[in-house]
Amino acid sequence: MSEIKNIIELKDICMEFDGEMVLDHLNLAIKDGEFVTLLGRSGCGKTTTLRIIAGFLNPVSGQVLFDSKEINGVPPYQRPVNTIFQRYALFPHYNVYENIAFGLRLRKVPEAEIKERVEEMLRFVNLQGFEKRSVTHLSGGQQQRVAIARAVINKPKVLLLDEPLSALDLQLRKDMQVELKNIQKKLGITFIYVTHDQEEALSMSDTVVVMNEGKVQQIGTPIEIYNEPQNAFVADFIGESNILDGVMPCDFTARFAGHDFDCLDKGFAPNEPVDVVVRPEDVDIVPVVRGMLKGEVTSVTFRGVHFEIIVDIDGFKWMIQTTDEHHVGDVVGLYIEPDAIHVMKKSQYSGKYGDYSSYSDELEQLSELTEDEEE
């Protein structure tokens, strides 16, 4: 396989607003033709990163490279990138046709060619016959398509998407996820996608960049990110995790919850303190005699496909997802396969996340709501 060149590189980028550090020595390389997602909570710096690439913001320090050439200070209107804005930013005083033609008009493209390309674009996004419609009277999904057409018609090398689906309802969002991925495949250009929705990130991207507090936490394929989280933050942010304090007495053995487990990890100093992550679906509930650990079921929630069961083991609340039904008060054993145990070095996030003692459905819904409102 030939080496794919980097289309965009960010080198040692720092950014601050009102003296507050938003991006902290950020480094990022994005390969040509990839679907890259910047994933993180609001305020993690993902939108700032996108706006630096678009040229709306200039970093305090660091380099922005496009095709290995520095583009710091190049104004947005001269960059070969286009943006899909969060609420589309369609021009209310122009109709669909004029919105899409906008970029070409500014480049003084001949009228006949504009007409041809706009029509091609309208076919591409499935909006034939909408030319004369006012953009303010379109549905959210249609506005989204106009925004895509308006950006893509300029043949950008990179398309930047700033939470483009956040204004849509759930069903439309799922459909648009598939459609966006298809559009990216057809065009073959780089998409840089910003979202706080981890499902969206995992299902659409070639590469996911998990960010927090202005720093990159992990870069990898969705599968790598999910299966091999590099620190407690990523483990907690992507999916559900039981995160425990442990030590590594020797290679291939992890000690946590008062028990030595076989595992696949090595290369730690003897007795080095570590974070141990176990995904809830990787824990098996077994009869007490066969269990490695023993505890009491304190909560059972039916989730449709599976049950979410909280098991208290010496005060640590484990979350377990299983298709078998258990009842509150049952005393059960837990069994964990060696490959389900993820050992990671202690980081600044150690101790911030852990068990599910404060777990409740309501709390989760509340925190999701507030996250949607931000940014």
Partner: protein
């Protein structure tokens, strides 16, 4: 239940509807009545025919009001644009400082300009110290237009600024992103989106300018007669209510028609059908 509801509805609407009918609508008909009758109340076209003698006055009033409106626009548009780009706190402060002089009585503001411009006024005193002048400024068209621009400039700034500050910043970024440099942005995005503000600014400056009588009285030095002066003279000095009513009627019809035309113009452009080049 329905009956009681509509009863309450009538009760709450009646006082205002009555008031509006008697004191807003009826007076307009009374103006028309006076315009077409003579002092004894008999029908006549004499007042309307008499208007021919005031052609020059109408023409000058329209001309001065148009020039004043154009000048306020040329000052206000860039001013409002720059203001809308400043920090929120600064914008608020600047807006307050623009509005403040409006709350000073127009008579005084105008009189103060007379003090500055008159033969023994402040400018000529200063010029005199340098051995220049005196210049004659009061009684010129320039002084009258200056008075209009001064008094009504805030009315132009206010609506333009309000609408500019409401333009969503992401629209400007989108234009930027699609290849628009600053002039293209001004022409294709800011200008068409701010047009409704410009239209109402024009109305808010043009209407009082064309109907003023105090500004022309003080700064026109009694030599420049505008429509407002003519009405004032007919009503307050000559007691010729019928002629005064006829002139008022024409002024009103002219103003209402020009407003309607301008609103139509604004609507057409706001439809979103227009081409951008």
């Amino acid at each position: 239940m329905k009956q009681r509801r509509s009863y309450a509805q009538v009760l709450i609407n009646a006082p205002y509807l009555l008031w509006a009918a008697i004191f807003i609508l009826v007076p307009l008909f009374i103006v028309a009545y006076y315009a077409f009758t003579d002092a004894s109340g008999a029908f006549t076209m004499a007042n309307i025919k008499e208007l021919a003698n005031y052609k020059q006055t109408f023409w000058i009033s329209i001309k001065y009001a148009l020039i004043a409106t154009a000048i306020t626009f040329v000052i206000a548009y860039p001013f409002a644009y720059f203001m809308s780009k400043k920090s929120a706190a600064k914008q608020q402060m600047m807006m307050l400082l623009v509005m403040l002089p409006m709350w000073m009585n127009l008579l005084i503001r105008t009189y103060s300009w007379m003090n500055i411009l008159e033969r023994n006024g402040i400018i000529n005193n200063l010029l005199g110290m340098m051995g220049l002048g005196p210049w004659k400024m009061i009684g010129t068209a320039g002084a009258v237009i200056l008075g209009m621009v001064y008094n009504y400039l805030p009315y132009m700034i206010l609506p333009i600024y309000t609408i500019m500050s409401k333009i969503d910043n992401s629209l400007l970024e989108a234009a930027d992103d699609l290849g628009a440099h600053s002039f293209a942005k001004l022409r294709h995005i800011i200008w068409p989106l701010s047009l409704p503000g410009v239209i109402s600014g024009i109305a808010m400056v043009f209407v009082p300018s064309i109907s003023t009588f105090y500004i022309s009285q003080k700064l026109g030095g009694g030599k420049i007669m505008l429509i407002g002066d003519t009405i004032e003279r007919q009503i307050q000095t000559a007691y010729n209510y019928n002629l005064g009513a006829a002139i008022s009627l024409v002024l009103m019809v002219f103003v209402l028609i020009s407003m309607a035309v301008m609103n139509r113009f604004a609507d057409d452009d706001g439809e979103g059908g227009g081409m951008i080049v």
